[in-house]
Symmetry: C2
Subunit: 120 residues, 2 copies
Amino acid sequence: MTSHGRRKGESPAPVGAFLRIHLDTGFSIGPGKIALLEQIDATGSLSQAARVLGMSYRRAWTLLDALNSGRWGPATTTSVGGSGGGGAALTDFGRKLIRLYRDIESNVLSLSRSKVKAAL
Amino acid sequence: MTSHGRRKGESPAPVGAFLRIHLDTGFSIGPGKIALLEQIDATGSLSQAARVLGMSYRRAWTLLDALNSGRWGPATTTSVGGSGGGGAALTDFGRKLIRLYRDIESNVLSLSRSKVKAAL
């Protein structure tokens, strides 16, 4: 981080946001869980999703366990065995969480950028 | 956290959000820094603000140091000595940060609530 050394006239970094949404007591979605769901969808496997994200398997498992414990039902299903070993797939609820978070996130980003631009 | 034990028919917890906004490389505002600025404004003192928030003086000092290192100038000024000892006060920029964050935060909360309600 070298922000303090910025010289006058250099253009500022674009405004960004970190957002976690609490949907219910003990049930939240943030960038880590949503990226994990997206990678499970892309790879069909929790361990491959974790690898792509540079996340430990233990952490990925903990995040997924939380995502599958909400009152709306699980976000993923798992299949055991088969020729390629077990796999993981998203439920409709899992897909809904991704769409919901990415939708809110993009709105928050444009909102933040325009408010910051107007205020500073 | 007892979310997993919710019984059917119980009303859900209200939707909440955690938001941190990155204004520049290495310069961000989130709930901790903004609450600190508000308490400095209310108490006129960094140590009293930290006490009100249950924050260590060291942590409060670190957050304030970051808030005073942005390219827009400091968020607070300090006065040394005087009959009541040194004090801290907000600059115009400090007040602007509070208004900006609280404004974006309340927009994000209502946006999240309506999107969650529509999706789940």
